[in-house]
Every structure is written in C-alpha cells, then in structure tokens.
C-alpha cells in the first residue's frame, strides 16, 4: 500500500511539473539533470525531486522526498544547486507536508528539514514528528526577510529518524 500511494504522489508531482513548466513567461529548472518531465532521482533510501519556477517576480520551489528508510547516518543534502535566476527575496510563503506511512515497526517518524541558500542562510526550517495513526501534518510557512536575502542557489537538507516510510514536501513562493 505504501508503495502504491508513494507512486501516486510521484506521478502527481510529475504531472504538476509538466503542467507548470508550460506556463507562459515562466522558466523552470528541475532535479535529475534539469529533467522537468522526469525529475525523480532515486537513492538507496528512497527518492527526491524538486522544481523551481521563475516568474517575472516570484521564485517557487516545489519538492518531494520519499524515505523508505533513513539515509545512512540519517542525513541527506542535495548540495547547493545554482539557480538560473539569482534574486533577492524579502518574503516567503507556502507549506510543508510530512506523512508517516503505516507499516513501520514502531509507528513513528521524525524529520528535520531545511531549505538553505548558497551561504547557509535558512529560508525555512522545520522539525516534524508524527505517528502512523495520525493524519498528515500540513503546516503553513510565512516569513519575511527585512534585510533581504540574496539567493543564487538552494540546498535541501534533512535529517530523518524513522521506522516507517515517510514523505516530505515543500512548496515555497519567494519574492
């Protein structure tokens, strides 16, 4: 069941990527060597995918990471990926979602997830934990950067601890 639901999430994400990449006046870049039609990168512990859409003003990050098991040592980083449009952001809003799928041995999952810029500044950071018998955690992200943040690259990092499969998703609009 977990595998089926995870697959559905992947396809939903890919569909979104295809949809949004075709919007006029918007440019996009994606994971998997900038393959927006198939952004999924498979890892020994699961998969990740991200897409960044640039309008004339906004920069939108969408990601999904699926952990079948925790990565070795618990940590994962995409490394800094350089954005095709460097911009100074003053505000971010969006959401983060975290699912702990049924079937694990202890019924709980936890993740520290962060979106950093190229200089190690945190645009958003959460530490989420949930039980398998609970609903998905969805929380809003809303923040301002009064002095501005000059963003030319992004880095997705996480540290997970889990007994069940988990899924983490970011959606952040920056401007």
């Amino acid at each position: 069941m977990t595998r089926v639901l995870s697959t559905k999430l992947i396809f939903a994400f890919i569909a979104l990527a295809l949809c949004c990449a075709s919007t006029k006046a918007q440019t996009s870049q994606c994971s998997n060597s900038n393959n927006c039609a198939h952004p999924t990168v498979t890892e020994p512990w699961g998969y990740y995918q991200w897409q960044v859409d640039f309008g004339t003003t906004t920069t939108t990050l969408k990601t999904e990471t699926g952990f079948s098991t925790a990565p070795t040592g618990g940590g994962f980083s995409t490394g800094v990926f350089t954005l095709t449009n460097a911009r100074t952001i003053h505000e971010v809003h969006g959401a983060v979602a975290f699912t702990v799928w049924p079937g694990g041995s202890c019924g709980v999952g936890s993740v520290i997830a962060e979106v950093h810029d190229q200089l190690g500044n945190s645009i958003a950071t959460v530490w989420l934990e949930n039980l398998t018998n609970n609903s998905v955690i969805n929380i809003p992200i809303k923040a301002t950067f009064p002095n501005g943040l000059a963003v030319s690259g992004l880095n997705l990092t996480s540290y997970s601890s889990q007994c069940s499969a988990t899924t983490l998703s970011w959606s952040l609009v920056m401007n």
């Binding site: 618990g74 940590g75 800094v80 989420l128 949930n130 601890s161």
Partner: protein
C-alpha cells in the same frame, strides 16, 4: 504499550536528539550545539548561523514518572551576535502511548528576557500536534554572541513518554 515498542520509541527519540550536526554542513554556516540529560529527560539543541539567518533547533524527550515535574532552563550559546526582526518555524509535540496526556510549556527566550517564541500545548495520546510559529518584532531583538545568548525553557508535569521538537529561523 508493549515494553519492546516503548523502548523502540525511546531509542528513536534519542536518535532524533542525536541530530549529529549533519545539518550544519551547509556552506558558510557557523554552528553551536549542546546536549544533556536530567532524570527521565534527554535533550539536544543546535544553532546554525548563516550570513543573515540564525536557526535554532531543539528537541527533548520526557519519560517522567507519576508526580515528577521537569522545569528546566538551558543556556544556549551562539557563534555570532544577531538582530532579530522576524521568526518563523514550528513546534511539534508527540505522545505515542495511549492513556498518556502530554502537556508542555516550551519557550525560547532572548538574552534580555524577551520571548522569541512560547507555546503551551496539550496532546491526548496517542497523538501529536504541530503548530507553525510566525512572528515579527517591530523593535528588533538583539542577541549577543557567546554563552547565554538564548535561554531554552520548558515545564512538563505529566507522566509518560512524550517528545517536543522546535525549529525556528530568525533574521
């Protein structure tokens, strides 16, 4: 709850507490961290500072016995001084066992006694709650470098297994 499951949850929580400094490997970040324990309480924290942002991450796990109270204040050190205009992040409380009620006061206080974030959360187990934190300071808070830049406080008086995690980005 079977003892084996309970032990696994405690082990899991301690693994989360280990935190491992992994997240401090982002480039150009300065980090401070600490961990420790009291009777039936384990905790860890980390502060990562970029050129603009200061990020606090702290987690604590409680396995209090009936009648036990844990009220603690932990000194948090920073690498750099900071001025805080805004804070955003989250707090999560998890109570894995049935028959246990979680009730926690959790706060991050700046050196001058000003509260950066403060929550009092209740959870009926098994269950969890996650709340977003978003705030601005029209008069910015100043935080010095070094020991005692922040204080991290909690007050817990319900027995049983419960854990609390806090992540806050300040700039």
């Amino acid at each position: 709850m079977p003892k084996s499951i309970r032990l696994r949850i405690v082990a899991f929580s301690l693994a989360a507490i280990a935190l491992s400094l992994y997240t401090s490997t982002a480039s150009a970040q300065n980090s401070t961290s600490g961990s420790g324990s009291f009777t039936n309480v384990g905790y860890s924290w980390q502060v990562d500072q970029g050129t603009v942002t200061t990020t606090f991450k702290g987690g604590a796990t409680f396995t209090l016995t009936s009648g036990q109270v844990s009220g603690q204040q932990i000194a948090i050190s920073t690498h750099n001084a900071a001025t805080i205009h805004e804070v955003h992040g989250n707090v999560t409380v998890v109570v894995p066992g049935s028959g246990t009620n979680g009730s926690i006061i959790f706060e991050l206080i700046a050196a001058n006694g000003n509260s950066v974030a403060s929550v009092k959360l209740d959870v009926i187990g098994p269950g969890s709650i996650t709340v977003p934190i978003s705030g601005t300071f029209s008069t910015p808070l100043t935080v010095p470098a070094g020991a005692g830049a922040f204080s991290w406080r909690w007050y817990v008086d319900n027995p049983g297994n419960q854990s609390v995690n806090m992540a806050l980005v300040m700039n």
